[in-house]
């Protein structure tokens, strides 16, 4: 670590997404902020602090040898689990009928966001250390399964089923890239499917969301409203958008316009061009992140960089597909862009770790 080398492609992708994010968070949240807090800049100011902090942390993480994460993973995992338990106690902060946050002064931290990161680090560490046992035998999968089930349970309890399912998905992705035989993956999939189906069906509002997804126009005034408003926002934007700050959807038409549905605001104000730019930056990030993983000095580095890259990439895919009505509504933020400190921090740390792997890449 005598001198720090930052991969320019990843840095450009991250900066591009983050700057677009902070600007659009301001545009999307100003009126809501004014109504709710009598301060146009309420959300913007917080996000800006997180962005600057996040960039520092990214650079800091880039400077830390990635092996550090592997060695400390047990502590990180234990700490995360403890915090996830504590958040369910009265120490946790409740909003919108869910207890997901710790309030620390003016900011609130969403532990489940960090849990995603920890899952990737843990799986990369665990699986890379047992490469010879992965292709044979089940026993090796027992500890990570327990970890995954525990985290899933705790996050689902908040409740935050979206993130909980995403954690399962991340675990499975890690198993897949770590070379777990297809046969084993199929069994895991067949086991998980009924459980997940039950969890979705057991809550009425989730069925509503599915129905709204299948035919949003029919559920226009109910559960389909948000999706229709999202479509209207995209449509109103056209090719090049109505211009920054000129969008109408964010005037409370579009719920969660500055968080999960921020891509719709981008679509309205910056148009198809803006949407393509965002998707392109994510594509760029993923391709470069995968390239980094393939050039990592060891298998831990490979799994770590690939896992974190996919964590960002899959979230981007899911979020953009949800916002465009290609997947049922699920509360996943758009990495680097959506309002939310924990999400931004998590993405920035992930980017920093990938940058560190990239700096040590044998292929560069």
């Amino acid at each position: 670590m005598r001198h720090l080398r930052l991969d320019p492609v990843i840095v450009i992708a991250v900066l591009g997404l983050a700057i677009l994010g902070i600007v659009m968070v301001f545009s999307a949240s100003a009126i809501r902020a004014d109504l709710e807090h009598a301060d146009d800049y309420f959300y913007f100011k917080r996000q800006l602090v997180f962005l600057l902090l996040g960039l520092l942390i990214m650079v800091g993480a880039a400077a830390v040898p990635y092996e550090f994460w592997g060695k400390g993973v047990i502590f990180l995992l234990a700490g995360t689990t403890l915090l996830l338990i504590l958040v369910l106690t009265p120490l946790g902060h409740t909003a919108n009928n869910a207890t997901r946050w710790f309030r620390v002064g003016p900011v609130s931290l969403q532990i489940a966001e960090f849990a995603k990161l920890i899952v990737v680090v843990y799986f990369a560490r665990y699986l890379s250390a047992r490469e010879e046992r992965i292709q044979s035998g089940w026993k090796v999968l027992i500890p990570p399964s327990i970890v995954l089930a525990g985290l899933f349970f705790l996050v689902a309890k908040e409740p935050d089923l979206g993130t909980a399912l995403f954690i399962i998905m991340l675990g499975c992705t890690m198993l897949f890239i770590a070379g777990v035989p297809k046969k084993v993956l199929a069994v895991i999939g067949l086991t998980a499917a009924p459980v997940i189906t039950y969890l979705i069906v057991s809550e009425n509002f989730r069925i509503e969301r599915i129905k709204a997804f299948l035919d949003p126009w029919k559920e226009y005034n109910g559960s389909g409203f948000q999706l229709i408003q999202s479509f209207v926002a995209f449509g109103n934007g056209g090719l090049f958008g109505v211009g920054f700050g000129e969008g109408k959807s964010k005037l409370l038409f579009l719920p969660e316009s500055h968080t999960d549905f921020i891509l719709a605001v981008i679509g309205e104000e910056l148009g198809f061009a803006g949407v393509i730019a965002v998707l392109f930056l994510f594509g760029m990030f993923v391709v470069r992140g995968i390239w980094t993983a393939l050039g990592a000095p060891d298998s831990f580095g490979t799994l770590l960089a690939a896992g974190l890259t996919l964590m960002i990439g899959i979230q981007a895919v899911i979020n953009s597909m949800v916002v465009l009505g290609l997947l049922p509504t699920k509360g996943l933020p758009l990495p680097f862009i959506s309002y939310g400190g924990s999400s931004l921090m998590t993405s920035m740390i992930a980017a920093g770790i990938i940058l560190n792997v990239a700096g040590r890449s044998t292929s560069s």
Partner: protein
């Protein structure tokens, strides 16, 4: 070791392949949202953009200030005053329960109702329209977020009942009855349009954009009505009708030479400020809605037609069959038997038989033609909503009995306004005018939009005929005429009484108890200034036009002449003040007085007669008659042969029961 190394290399290859696979899959998956974005933003762009436009704005109509209605002298009859209304923007009301509870105390609406208004639906809602200033002040003081006051225009009728049924009233948004209804397009003005940006919950965003189109105040309507004359007429009609227990009444005064309606009154009246407290039937303007059989007032038309057609002249005399005359299978009766009468006598004594004979001589075609020419069976053109045309069958279809009946005013339906306009045709010297109520309509800037001018709708009879008929009508109000109660000291009054039985649709025959008494005439007879009519529906204590309607007519016309400063006729100048002998005649308006007709100074024997027949015998005596029971007269006070003077009371029983 090679095994392990080989194993690791194999594993490494699998890992790299799988990472490459996902590394390619994820960017490819990003093409899906890109494709959908293309679909929405390029292919569906127009539709969705239109939708965005539509849902983000609301056009609010703002009712303009309604134009005023003023009388001929510019006095206000209907004005709009700003009154506060309470509204809510539902999303902005945080504590709906609490707001409903607090407002309920001030607005006098149950908190449950208010809560429902706040809870159901989105955006703007009126909580209570047109509240008292005190309540508005309290609402303002509460300062509940999302609850506000907005000034609305409320219609106010400063003269209360005055001309109520002519003016009509305004509902929440538009004129519902009377002139308020028929002149809606002028009075209403132009809606203002305001565009609001809305949020998704339907709440208006502040700030409000400025007017898309400013509201335009409605036009001012000036009527021909004179508030003072209207007041006299309503007063006379009210006092007269209530004194004799009539169920309803209507009166109209026209300016003879122009057709301007100076007054148009109804009894019972209603107060348009409080219209909802009155039954619907009070809203009716009987002067134009009420269709009745005119009875003897119509004889003016028959005689005028005969003179114009020269079927008779004013020197001819007709035999009136001593009170009973058969036409086909019907009997025509006179209340008082007459022998030979001139045409003037037929008018002044109101002989049905005389009018029948004139009518039969004229023939149905000719009488039908004149009836139409005098304006019956069609709208007068006064431009009030729902003006009745009356009932006038095609003359071709009349039987001989129909012809006989119509000649003395039964078997056709007219409105008071039609009748007074027909009489006014005699007053104008034979030209029928269009009666009108609206003098002019002026825009808020003072520009005259419409100015009504007197309109002659045709010459009906020659000036000479009209003069002759007018002379005959003067005799009606002279001593011995059926309308002497309408005589006004100092003026020559031309008029005609009318008493018609009401046709009871339910029973299909003429009622024996229900009458319509009327009097129509003009003054001064030689150079008419005003023409007026009084129609009284179902008078109870007295029934005749001469005793019921004529005194009311006189009362209102005297006041009007005085108000208009009309100087007495030259021939009366030296007789004013009047001789003491004449004084009581003028003073008596209650109808209880010494009989002035010589042959009826003693009480006739009425026993065995039907009520109608009995009342017919008492017709010219102007006695107040009290009636008990139905059927035929079985007892009478005074007894036959006794002198008359006091009230007459009759007891009746169904025939065959005594």
């Amino acid at each position: 070791m090679t095994g392990k190394r080989g194993h690791q290399a194999r594993w490494d290859a699998v890992v790299r392949a799988r990472i490459r696979f996902l590394g390619a899959l994820v960017p490819l998956l990003l093409l899906l949202p890109a494709a959908k974005a293309f679909n929405l933003q390029v292919q569906q762009q127009e539709d969705l953009a239109r939708r965005a436009e539509r849902q983000s704005q609301m056009v609010e109509r703002v009712a303009p200030k309604r134009g005023a209605i003023i009388d001929a002298n510019g006095q206000p009859l209907a004005v709009s005053v700003p009154v506060p209304s309470v509204y809510a923007e539902r999303e902005k009301v945080r504590d709906k329960k609490g707001a409903a509870r607090d407002l309920s105390r001030v607005l006098g609406i149950s908190s449950k109702t208010l809560y429902e208004r706040l809870e159901k639906g989105r955006g703007f809602v009126w909580l209570c329209r047109m509240v008292e200033p005190e309540a508005a002040r309290k609402v303002r003081e509460m300062g509940i977020e999302g609850v506000g006051l907005r000034m609305e225009s409320r219609r106010y009728y400063p003269n209360k009942e005055l001309a109520g049924s002519v003016l009509g009233f305004v509902g929440t948004d538009k004129g519902l009855e009377g002139l308020e209804n028929s002149l809606e397009e002028f009075l209403r003005g132009g809606d203002g349009l305001r565009v609001f940006d809305l949020d998704a919950r339907g709440a208006r965003m502040t700030p409000v954009s400025s007017w898309e189109k400013a509201p335009e105040t409605g036009a001012t309507v000036q009527l021909t009505l004179d508030r003072n004359i209207q007041f006299f007429v309503e007063q006379s009609l009210r006092e007269g009708c209530s004194a004799i227990g009539a169920s309803a009444g209507a009166a109209v005064i026209l300016e003879s030479r122009t057709g301007r309606i100076l007054a148009m009154a109804n009894y019972p009246a209603f107060n348009p400020n409080d219209f909802s407290r009155f039954d619907r039937r009070f809203y009716q303007n009987k002067a134009i809605h009420y269709v009745y059989e005119p009875g003897s007032t119509f004889k003016v038309v028959t005689i005028a037609a005969a003179l114009e057609e020269k079927v008779f002249d004013d020197m001819d005399i007709l035999f009136c069959e001593n009170g009973r005359f058969q036409v086909a299978d019907a009997h025509i009766n006179d209340h008082v038997p007459h022998g030979w009468l001139t045409l003037s006598g037929i008018i002044s004594k109101s002989s049905n038989i005389g009018a029948t004979k004139v009518g039969l001589e004229l023939g149905k075609e000719t009488l039908g033609k004149y009836t139409r020419a005098f304006g019956f069976g069609r709208e007068t053109g006064v431009l009030l909503p729902g003006e009745a045309r009356g009932i006038l069958r095609e003359a071709k279809g009349w039987t001989r009995v129909d012809l006989a009946n119509i000649a003395f005013g039964q078997g056709l339906g007219v409105t008071p306004l039609q009748m007074v306009n027909a009489v006014n045709t005699i007053a104008t010297g034979g030209e029928r005018l269009r009666p009108f109520l609206v003098e002019k309509i002026m825009s808020p800037s003072g520009e005259v939009i419409m100015h009504n001018r007197p309109t002659i709708q045709g010459r009906v009879v020659s000036r000479e005929t009209a003069r002759t008929v007018a002379k005959m009508m003067e005799a009606v109000t002279r001593s011995g005429g059926s309308g002497e109660n309408a005589a006004i000291l100092g003026y020559d009054v031309a008029g005609k009484t009318g008493t018609a039985q009401k046709f009871e649709n339910s029973r299909g025959q003429y009622s024996k108890e229900k009458y319509i008494a009327s009097f129509a005439g003009f003054v001064p007879a030689a150079d008419p200034l005003i023409t007026a009519i009084v129609v009284v529906d179902e008078p109870r204590k007295k029934i005749y036009g001469g005793t019921v309607a004529a005194p009311i007519w006189k009362d209102m016309v005297v006041k009007t002449l005085k108000y208009l400063n009309v100087s007495p006729a030259p021939s009366y100048r030296d007789k004013v003040p009047v001789s003491p002998a004449a004084e009581p005649r003028i003073a008596r308006v209650d109808g209880v007085r010494k009989v002035s007709v010589a042959q009826e100074t003693v009480m006739p024997d009425l026993r065995g007669l039907t009520l109608r027949e009995a009342l017919g015998r008492l017709a010219e005596t102007d006695s107040r008659v009290k009636v008990k029971g139905t059927g035929v007269v079985v007892e009478q006070v005074p007894m036959p042969g006794d002198g008359m003077g006091g009230p007459v009371s009759l007891s009746l029983q169904p025939r065959g029961e005594s």
